[in-house]
Amino acid sequence: MKNKSLISINDYSKEDYLKILDLAAKFEANPVQKILDGKVVATLFFEPSTRTRLSFESAISKLGGKIIGFTDAASSSVKKGESLKDTIMTVANYSDLIVMRHPVEGSARYASEVSKVPVVNAGDGANQHPTQTLLDLYSILKTQGTLENLNIFMVGDLKYGRTVHSLLIAMSHFNPTFNFISPEFLKIPDEYKLFLNEKGIKYYEHSDFTEYIDEADIVYMTRVQKERFSDPIEYEKVKNVYILRNNMLENTKDNLRILHPLPRVTEINEDVDSNPKAYYFQQAENGVYARQAIIASILGLDI
């Protein structure tokens, strides 16, 4: 993986995932390791994403690296009309690695072609957000002790949610069973169902929470965004259907953990937070270790 940009979850093999997860566990055991001493990492956020940026900057800081960059396009030369290519080619002269968030789909792949230093995609529009997927995998592995043969429930916006799509593809290496819970018009797209059919992976679709949730090992919650609805009445009708409440977890398995890529709005009731099965804040913490592992792997740094 040395010097190889991380743009899409499809770029990495099962073995690559496992190597990163293994390394993430080492960073969790010993998070402060100054292996980036003297290195500069550019964090270029062409659109704001506070959580992802802070997680990356925390990871880089714990590794002893220096951070340069901007937090939204308004504070960069993009505002003056500079092309993406020019921005990337310039910044590549100042840094050893570029972490980039951009609203345009495919922009990270393009940046990796013009950059002389590796690029990590921190989200390119609705396309890919591979570091989120790796931290999700790490969270699943850590809480379940394995990635194999798990029953995974995905809830909410399964049509536009890129985290759901990438996690589905990554987990497909580990013989999962999927249960999809979503409103009719936010159902998982056909291309992903075809993919699961081809791989022989079992999946079930539901329009609301079901008693089958008692069989879940992982419940992956996502936000149903109001702006996806053309009809506000439709939103009002469905918005309360996809809320997870503490009393729904009564008969669930002991190993069940609730994940959410955050930010959460109302889809997980706050009464779930104190339940030991709630895992979304630890999941965010795992993001720092996963990103440390990704940066170290790409820069070929041993620990």
Binding site: N10, K85, P103, V104, E105, G106, S107, R109, Y110, G125
Partner: protein, 153 residues
């Protein structure tokens, strides 16, 4: 007999390539894809000719020009049933059919308006993921452009 008559509607060439069985409405796309508007060779073409198999068809004859497979296969996007006659000294010395290649570079527009190829000055690149249904996966945004949406740039 009819075939010969049709061939002669576009006058014969001594040496070069004749591309037959182009759907009439794809003629200018084929010219565009092969860059025939930018070369000096003598080119003759006929369009809206009756075809026994596909309604109205077009024929292009290009003198003193032969095509590599990789180049000619690009027209599979708009003329999948086209046939090539390689002509030397007024004789057809070889025939070729068009095959769908594994990749398309530069010639197809990505269907996704949010794709970087539609925002920045980036040439498109596609991998063919389904040759029967003609589905192209964008190298950049990873979205599928399929048969009904294919637009030549």
């Amino acid at each position: 007999m009819t075939k010969e008559t049709k061939e002669l509607r576009v006058s014969a060439i001594k040496n070069g390539t004749a591309i037959d069985h182009i759907p009439a409405d794809s003629l200018f796309n084929v010219i565009n894809i092969l860059g025939l508007d930018k070369i000096d060779n003598t080119i003759t073409f006929g369009t809206n000719l009756d075809s026994q198999t596909q309604g109205k068809k077009a024929i292009i004859k290009i003198s003193e020009r032969y095509f590599e497979d990789a180049e000619i296969n690009k027209i599979s996007l708009v003329a999948p049933n086209a046939k090539l006659n390689i002509i030397k000294d007024y004789e057809v010395v070889d025939k070729k059919v068009i095959e769908i290649p594994d990749t398309f570079d530069k010639i197809v527009k990505c269907v996704n308006p949010k794709c970087v190829t539609n925002v920045e000055a980036v040439s498109t690149k596609f991998t063919v993921v389904d040759k029967n249904e003609l589905k192209l996966k964008c190298y950049y945004c990873e979205k599928i452009t399929s048969k009904g949406n294919i637009e030549v740039v």
